[in-house]
Symmetry: C2
Subunit: 332 residues, 2 copies
């Protein structure tokens, strides 16, 4: 017989709530959030992940835990919020061969990223399911009230920026699925970026007061740019040549001439980047660069906000790139 629910909570989860007084060591029906700092607001975001859909069923449980946390931290960063803690709902398959070992690894992953990002488990619910591992995390952070970054707010004339590099995760998924062949070294780099995104928790809050609109790129650069365009009532123009690419992604695009367009298209629409895409007025360029340097994150200007609607991606020859439609979100 495995451990009961209470023993599982005591052993694996209660230790993760230490340091958050309002979590009461997970002994009660609910948790208390501390008082928000003067003038700041609590930000709440939720993401659900299902084995076989959002991660591979045999992914190590510590990586599953960390990816689930990071996806939520990325949403907080996109709003400009500083992360504080999270609640967890976890459904484990009844037939899981060794649930204690899985939970041990899962809790180890949570602990690693709790320490990395300075957050705590505030509460949770653990149930069994006849289906696959399913988990949902609700994360909490705080932002200066009125300073939150929204998808609306981008103005004509603003620069369009993106953090980090784009496309690594999408190509990493291709590597893991066996549809893309690259060198062993590049395969590892790209797969790692898919398995474990790097939420821009320091950059997001630093953009409050500088960026006019922003979000995190999870559906794909072009699609998510479409969300900003739609909500801000503007058009976004992206210069394909300006989109920052890692050496591994650049090698991948350069080395496969006949696939060049496919690889570039995968990079621009592939998703899972968890980089911040944001608009800011040209007058703020220096301050954006300084904020990014202070956060230790590279940022790149990839385009600008124009009159109109939708997203246009321009090739180096100055003509719009075709064939990037996906999901009906990039209107040319």
């Amino acid at each position: 017989m495995g451990l009961g629910e209470f023993e599982r909570i005591d052993r694996f989860f209660a230790p993760l709530s230490q340091g958050a007084g309002g979590a009461f060591g997970l002994t009660d029906d609910a948790a208390l959030l501390p008082e928000a700092a003067d003038g700041s607001a609590w930000v709440v975001t939720v993401d659900a992940l299902v084995a076989g859909v959002h991660f591979l069923p045999d992914d190590p449980p510590d990586l599953v835990a960390r990816k689930a946390l990071r996806v939520n931290l990325s949403d907080l960063a996109a709003m400009g919020a500083v992360p504080y803690g999270y609640t967890l709902a976890l459904a484990l398959p009844k037939g899981l061969p060794d649930p204690e070992s899985w939970l041990e690894g899962f809790a180890r992953g949570l602990r690693a990223d709790q320490d990395r990002y300075g957050i705590h488990l505030l509460g949770g619910d653990s149930v069994s399911t006849p289906g696959p591992v399913t988990l949902s995390i609700t994360a909490f952070g705080s932002v200066a009230r009125g300073g939150e970054l929204r998808r609306s707010g981008a103005s004509v004339g603003d620069d369009l920026w993106v953090s980090g590099t784009i496309g690594d995760a999408a190509l990493g998924l291709g590597v893991l699925q066996g549809t893309l062949r690259v060198s062993a070294a590049d395969a590892e780099i790209l797969a790692d970026r898919y398995r474990l995104p790097e939420p821009r928790v320091a950059l997001g809050p630093a953009l409050v007061g500088l960026a006019t609109a922003g979000l995190d790129v999870s559906d794909g650069l072009v699609q998510d740019a479409g969300h900003i365009a739609e909500r801000s009532g503007v058009a976004l123009r992206i210069e394909a040549a300006a989109v920052p690419l890692s050496p591994a992604v650049r090698r991948c695009i350069d080395s496969s001439d006949p696939l060049r367009h496919d690889a570039l298209s995968g990079v621009l629409t592939g998703g899972d980047d968890y980089e911040l895409l944001f608009a800011a007025p040209p007058a703020s360029r220096d301050r954006v660069s300084e904020a990014a340097a202070a956060a230790g994150v590279q940022v790149t200007r990839i385009g600008r906000v124009e009159d109109g609607r939708g997203v246009r991606v321009m090739a180096e020859d100055g003509r719009p790139l075709q064939g990037l439609e996906r999901g009906g979100w990039n209107h040319f």
Copy 2:
């Protein structure tokens, strides 16, 4: 082809966020909680439900939605918190025959209980799963800081109280599973109590400052009494004859003489009651009764807090009832 994720959000979920300004119509990555009232704190609770485990796979989706919400509202009430809103993570089976119709019913159920309890949807995530319908709700409420009801805090000499009646839901599950036969009228009453609990949202906050400890009865009266005993470091004595029973439950116990003990045991340990179990000093009896009357809820004194550990349920002959052990939580 069914609707895409964004169209589903627009059609079914965004309308449920109206009235909560910080939800931004579900257009952004996260939501903002409003400022907590002076001296009050945000309370957070999470519950996960899985089809085939926590509800029947062919339960109507509006009932599933309402039960999921109410289970969380009951947790808030147990802490003495006034409900404000919730986030939703929903995993729908890929092969659901008519997902739009299911979602329409689900959203209708959410709407009904939002209106009933004055709450709003603040955010959500909707994904697909190869498994059964799985949902997780994180609910938010507010309580005077320091006034929250905990499982710890019960003192020797306190009265032990419970709201409403106990056992209806447990026997209702028996009816639905075909293991219990009662009259058609009683069957409907009992099954309804299982399908749709009545969270004590008005009583919970009214007990702040009166009750010394409390929780909502979800695992079973005896087991949950065990949680208070354990966390408060006391013993709880429950008089079986004092436990409030509905006419339907009483008929069930009385009419099945050979099953008398089984039925009573099912009532005391069966769970899913979502009534409030709480301790309060005898000096507060009148104020507890007045608070309950104002909340429109019956409350009954069923025992008292004593020195020692564990839970003892006394029969009418003054001897402890045997055979109530379940899950290792009621220590005699």
